[in-house]
């Protein structure tokens, strides 16, 4: 069985990451498993842990009163779930539900924030990994907004 450090090292989010930084991260990490239908996180709840998906599929949803929830994105192997833990007041802004059996590494957000504050080199390395993902998602959201397949 792989230990946490090996699992983290091989996750796409940490591809090419310095071993000492992976070790720092291991201290905040735990192995998780979500059955289909289980929620990883809920809108409004404290964003105290985010997830590196190892395999499976996670749907990001927004609940609409009187209607079925709207899925606006799905995430899978190699992707991360959750960014609200980065920004105060650290509250989730959507629901995340496992669509199928999903295995993930949970990272304790408070722990990671502490380590980032303590070691700005580590903090900057983490930031450089998060910012491209946030930028890609912002870009994808813009494209979705265009509704390019809608009626002309």
């Amino acid at each position: 069985m792989k230990d946490l450090e090996q699992i983290l090292q091989s996750h796409a989010f940490l591809g090419g990451c310095e071993p000492e930084y992976v070790q720092l991260l291991v201290g905040c990490a735990r192995n998780l498993r979500f059955d289909a239908g289980e929620y990883l996180l809920r809108e409004g709840a404290a964003a105290d842990e985010f997830y590196l998906i190892r395999h499976g599929k996670v749907a990001l949803e927004i609940n609409v009163p009187g209607k079925a929830p709207i899925v606006f994105s799905t995430l899978g192997e190699g992707e991360i779930v959750g960014a609200s833990w980065l920004v105060p007041p650290y509250r989730w802004t959507f629901d995340a539900r496992a669509v199928e059996l999903t295995r993930a590494i949970g990272i304790d957000a408070a722990c990671l924030r502490r380590k980032c504050d303590a070691d700005s080199g580590f903090g900057y390395a983490m930031m450089k990994r998060f910012v491209p993902i946030l930028s890609q998602r912002l870009h994808a959201t813009r494209l979705q907004l265009l509704d390019v397949y809608g009626k002309p």
């Binding site: 599929k57 749907a59 990001l60 949803e61 079925a68 929830p69 709207i70 899925v71 606006f72 994105s73 799905t74 899978g76 192997e77 190699g78 539900r97 669509v99 199928e100 890609q136 994808a140 494209l143 979705q144 265009l146 509704d147 390019v148 397949y149 809608g150 009626k151 002309p152």
Partner: protein, 276 residues
Amino acid sequence: MTVAVADPMLPQRYRVTHAQRLLDDTVSLRLTPQDGELPSWQPGQFNMLYAFGVGESAISISGADDNGFEHTVRAVGAVSRAIAALQVGDSIGLRGPFGSAWPVTAAEGADVVFVAGGLGLAPLRPAIEAVLQQRERYGRVVLRVGARRPQDLLFPEALERWRLARDVDIDVSVDHADTQWRGHVGVVTTLIAGARFDPHESIAMVCGPDVMMRFCARSLHDEGVADDRIYLSMERNMKCAIGLCGHCQFGPSFICKDGPVMRYDTIADRLNVREL
């Protein structure tokens, strides 16, 4: 070279021999020639369909058998509405086929990446069928499909058939879904990064709305696919289909005769110019 066509401006008589409603506003028609044989054609080309007295519209070929062309028509204007309303037995005028083709033969030996958005699956469908019929001649075959909602997905039966076919990596993403949808939600570009293909030995064929193609081409480029191995199917106002009316110009290209299928490296700069 001047093409010896009897009269490329004169429609031929075809009959609707099959009609199927695919979506609320989209139908599929099989059109069989009333006189003579079906002309030769290639995946990626289009025909000019004429609704009697109403007018003509450029519609890509979404399939063909010995008996006729299949066209997938979305009712968005007066002409396409009239065409979409045709019933089995009705007559229709048809000129064509016109335009350039997908590089189906040129892609032999390479991995093939198809990216379709919305109705863009229709012009790609004959190319996908052609590749799957000669599956052994190609490396990995990847198909990524984007749609607005799960219920807007074109050709679900064909997708299922392709999925069951040998060794095709198919993934579908929709822009919005309810919780019943088991597939991906998000823009189709995000599915390109996760696909397994050798970017240096791939040919990519992309068809969909202009914006979607622009961003897909960039994603493919970012994955390492050379710009001269990415093909897009362009849309402009095709009226005469033979390069004489001027309407479909896109910089120096006439989309009707130099396109609709165009190599990305030859148009990448122009795609960024507004109102060209």
